[in-house]
Symmetry: C2
């Protein structure tokens, strides 16, 4: 079966319900656009007072149409909108764009109920609905402009290889406008509004199938379900289409605003980061980042590395480019002695032949300098990407020659090449020859770093099926012995221990484990044992073990708390206390955390998130991004820690979290003592909550 959402991109016929002769009205503007942009399908209008609207045949009601249109635009408000959606569903319209607002986004019970009636009507017949509260869809490839945005009046549309898919109406057309102002053609500017039926990710998945698209930009305020987004990423990755996503509501303040705005569910932001990274999607932090590197994506370059060569007629730009490279995670390429010698033959004696290359104001008197040095650099294998910085030039410079030489060079090497040129008249010939031009070196380097980093991310993407979100009804804590048992069975090494039901058993455990031991009270009722004095470290004698046993039994029983026995455990030694945590996120499902352990985990967190499934190498990569990474690798002559053992334990935790019986809600192993080299690791404590 064909995905009905494909119809939304190129319907054979469209009806506008609530059509208006006035192109400034919501019901008039889509008709105006359909005519202006040469839409080739059938267009019908519905308006009981008219027989013709903006030249299109007009009917009193949807039931009077000569055929069932594939798509409908609902431009009437309130109850009329509900009736229109119901009528569309009834006659067999495939997709419906409901522009009316005042529904779910109001947050009122009535608004939500009305919205749900529309969704129910659509689902009853298999119709798909966009909105309500959507500006609509715009496809400049087919002229199917089912949108009332005024932006397409303000700026001239042009078809091109970029798509924008957004929940927000403004964010569907503002990136569009920014790209159009730069002369870039944009095919899609789609807004999905309240996402009551079709959500932004579902539409993105359909758009991603367009073989002519070279870049897909998304704006999201929440990810209520990761699967459609994962599906869009799988489709895009399979054909090498990069996706850049701006997910707002990163901060508590932003999430609060999103909640007030659309009732958006607040995602845990670092899970969004981890999810997007794993699926090869680049995350933009703001509107500028969303569109900043567009020109690079459209070039067809296949970036391979992060080693930058910067060339400028200004030493200051060289310095700032090198600063920007470090800041953006690029490095300055170490160009070879042979290349330097070749540069030295061309450049004046006071120029710099190390990278960054300061060709100095000599460019003023020798316009061939660019053309002469670029071939030498093109041959140097150390160079992955190039920045050409021309902060100042003027009438006396042969700027056309610079632009021509740069364009030829980029063409011949196939390596990403960006110019930083603040003066519009100097930038123009570079742009005309297809070289991406930014105003400053910082922007140029940042765009290169994003572009290179994004392709790295796409190559490493693991776009596997996401876990479906599921609600956790309730949970109960296991006692420590049960938690350790579950953890140990899963394959995580746990500290040798015995659960003792009597003082005699406890004394026998001491004898078996050898002194000193740790003695801990075991209760399903107590998570924070030390607060009830239920932890004694370094217990050496049988008498002391017995005393501890009795005291702990008393401490629990006198408070009416479950006394499940006393845990006698070995005093383990290791080099560093790490932690492994896991919980079930309502959206992303099982989530595993690794990081520095100990009692300040909350106050001074140093952790990374992992989304299952993952392997040992993934864990090691996550650990390498911790603040304590140098310590894991060994510092001050200390040996490295047994990171591999810890990584295996983490993978075992992930397996435990994804199995169905018992369903674990959360798990905390802190500390996990990690030894040196192949000494392994040992979970000293385990707190597990299971679903009830």
């Amino acid at each position: 079966m064909i995905n009905p959402l494909h119809v939304a991109l190129d319907p054979k016929s469209i009806v506008v319900i609530g059509a208006s002769e006035n192109p400034d009205k919501i019901g008039g503007r889509p008709l105006f656009y359909l005519a202006r942009h040469g839409y080739r399908g059938k267009v019908y209008a519905v308006n009981p007072k008219r027989t013709e609207t903006q030249g299109f045949p007009t009917f009193p009601s949807i039931d009077d149409l000569p055929e069932v249109p594939e798509a409908a635009i609902v431009a009437v408000p309130g109850d009329a909108a509900i009736a229109a959606v119901e009528a569309c569903a009834r006659i067999g319209v495939k997709v419906c764009v409901t522009m009316a607002s005042g529904f779910g986004e109001t947050g009122t019970a009535a608004g939500i109920a009305a919205e749900q009636r529309m969704v129910a009507a659509a689902r009853a017949t298999g119709m798909r609905m966009f909105g309500p509260n959507t500006q609509g869809l715009a496809n400049f490839g087919t002229g199917a402009i089912l949108s009332f945005s005024s932006m397409f009046l303000e700026t001239e549309p042009m078809d091109g290889p970029v798509g924008v898919v957004s929940q927000s109406g403004a964010m569907s057309v503002v990136p569009w406008g920014m790209l159009r102002a730069r002369g870039i053609g944009v095919r899609y500017a789609h807004a999905t509004g309240n996402d009551a039926d079709v959500n932004v990710a579902e539409l993105a998945a359909v758009v991603a199938e367009d073989p002519e698209l070279k870049l897909l930009l998304l704006y999201l305020e929440s990810v209520p379900d990761p699967e459609p987004l994962a599906e869009a990423a799988r489709i895009a990755n399979a054909r090498g289409l990069p996706i850049v996503a701006l997910k707002s509501g990163r901060t508590a303040a932003g999430q609060q605003a999103a909640k007030s705005h659309t009732g958006a569910l607040a995602n845990e932001d670092r899970l969004i980061d981890a999810f997007l990274e794993r699926h090869g999607i680049w995350r933009a932090h703001d509107l500028h980042e969303l569109v900043a590197a567009t020109e690079l994506y459209l070039k067809g370059w296949k970036p391979r590395g992060r080693k930058l060569v910067a060339i400028s007629n200004s030493g200051a730009v060289c310095v700032m480019a090198a600063d920007a490279a470090t800041r953006s995670g690029m490095s300055m390429a170490a160009i070879s002695g042979a290349t330097r010698a070749e540069l030295g033959r061309v450049l004046p004696s006071f120029a710099t032949t190390t990278n960054p290359i300061d060709i100095t104001a000599a460019l003023l008197t020798n316009s061939r300098l660019f053309g002469d040095i670029l071939p030498a650099l093109a041959r140097d294998p150390a160079a992955d990407a190039f920045l050409i910085g021309i902060p100042v030039a003027g009438a006396a410079y042969d700027v056309d020659a610079f632009a021509r030489d740069t364009a030829e060079f980029a063409e011949n090497t196939g390596k990403p090449t960006v110019a930083a040129i603040p003066q519009a008249q100097i930038a123009a010939p570079f742009k005309a020859r297809g070289i991406p031009v930014m105003e400053t070196e910082t922007e140029a380097v940042a765009a290169l770093a994003q572009f290179v980093g994004h392709y790295e991310r796409m190559r490493e993407a693991k776009p596997t099926a996401a876990h479906r979100p599921r609600a956790v009804s309730g949970s109960r804590m296991l006692n420590e012995a049960q938690s350790l048992a579950l953890t140990g069975q899963a394959g995580v090494p746990v500290v040798p221990h015995h659960l003792c039901r009597s003082a005699n058993e406890a004394a026998a455990a001491l004898a078996r484990l050898g002194a000193p031991v740790v003695v801990k009270g075991c209760s399903t009722d107590v998570a924070h044992k030390s607060e009830l004095d239920l932890v004694r470290l370094g217990v050496n004698t049988a008498d002391d073990v017995r005393t501890a046993f009795d005291a702990m039994r008393h401490a629990l029983e006198s408070r009416g708390l479950a006394f499940d026995g006393v845990l006698v455990a070995a005093m383990a030694k290791g080099r560093r206390e790490l932690m492994i945590g896991a919980h079930v996120d309502p959206v992303f499902g099982p989530v595993v955390l690794v990081g520095d352990g100990g009692k300040y985990v909350e106050a001074m967190p140093d952790t990374r998130v992992l989304l299952p499934p993952f392997d040992v190498a993934d864990v090691e990569r996550a650990l390498a991004r911790l603040r304590i990474a140098p310590l894991l690798a060994g510092v001050r002559g200390e040996p490295a820690l047994d990171v591999a053992a810890f990584a295996r334990a983490t993978v075992a935790v992930a397996a435990l979290m994804t199995r169905s019986e018992p369903r674990i809600v959360s798990l905390d192993l802190n500390p996990v003592l990690v030894g040196t080299h192949d000494e392994g690791c040992l979970a000293l404590d385990s707190v597990v909550f299971v679903e009830t």
Copy 2:
């Protein structure tokens, strides 16, 4: 005596040596500019082949001039430039702008020597020289354009309240061009080139005295001497003139490039940060940040707080503004219930009356919405600054009304108000009414945050005299007993200890201190004691102390290392190991570091820099910015640490570092054990190097 550099800004007479009729030549362009910009002083030209150049009287040599000009432009190259500088100095020229390049910046011995000849000639008669290798100075207030930059041909100059002072020629005119493109008048675009005599900070100090200036922008590649920059900051702060500085060479790669470029001394970047902060100078990270907030500075606003109110017709902009606020260190103002009630009476029911305020697309049908809600917000004391976000509007909106209402509001409240408007035609009426407009909400919030943060920094500035840089000839290490003695005498609590010359003395020390003790071998030859097994912790008996004494004496003497005795010290207890470090920076003089202590200080640094003089409150502010700050304040029910005692110890270290006898080169107190509440702190170890 008048600072001769004032002459550079407004000389009564100027001579161009190496004058050319061709305005595209270095010797022709200044004459062209002087004529074009209405310079009112006398202008002379020197060229042996001409009697008139571009209409100015021309003489064969500088000795033939009818008067001694106050300023000279040296536009001849090489040896002729040296001769011209010497001649200028000889006849009594006050300031000379040497444009010729090929001197110190080449890094060759010959180039450096030639440059030094020019400096020597200037200093011999009190002439001040700019350059060599400078594009020159430009003052659009007086028309004294002693510059050959082509930028003033590309963009129309206009006088205004901004000054740019830069080492780099490009960076003197690129910010100028960016501001001019935004319609902002700029008075100064000065480049100082090689800074062989006059440096960029000296010139900045003179420019800062211009009473009409409202913003001073600096570009620096190195700070070889902090005093002129401190002087510029003192002058600027005294009259409330904000300085924004772009100091490049932040990173190792950038410093390497700066060294290749101009031989710039590599400053330790965090000292630059600390120095600029203390002097009230805002540090820009790149060219965009240098100029981004200019419009705000020119408004005359006196910002007082960081609480933002954001208003938009797009919910997405509201969400992104809230995200940006958190990211920039601003917070969303909690507007009062009364204000919300008032907003509720004006806004449609589905709009948001919490902050950020989403007035929704209702703006389309009611253009008075802005004008109606702004007065209510103006009265709310919680609001410090405002963002107006209009991502989309068009012909149907009464944008002029929005702009007028916003401008009136900003005028009436005197509170910083910035608009985020990506469409040029919507932005235009706001700009016309003097409202700063950025393209996106992120930029707008960042500009507000910088503006507010900069005024905070200016209010808190302590622009005291900087320490003159001085070279440290050599240094030697004190032994631990000497180091502890010096540290203790300075007022830092040190661990109770005894330096023992015999095993008997050591045993007696144990008796006095009480078991357990620490025993450490004491030697001026050994910095890392543990590597030679010279540290024994938890020694309990006299016999063990004696054994340790003998073993340590043997360990040192058998290796031919000085044996200065054995230190027997109390085993102190505390809550956390911090550290205090200090050293003499070649530029900034004494520098003190505070932070987390222990053995991973280098591998996982968590430190802040303090530049003396500073007080206890300064130290506490620095500690509050550490990663471990939550722990210092007390987490998980733990009591707070005695931060005050630690701060007093840090102030004592600063006093020690600035005293003259002995001159301390470096000092490391690690760990400094800090107790709870008023338990104080105790330096357990001290390593001091003194100057030899």
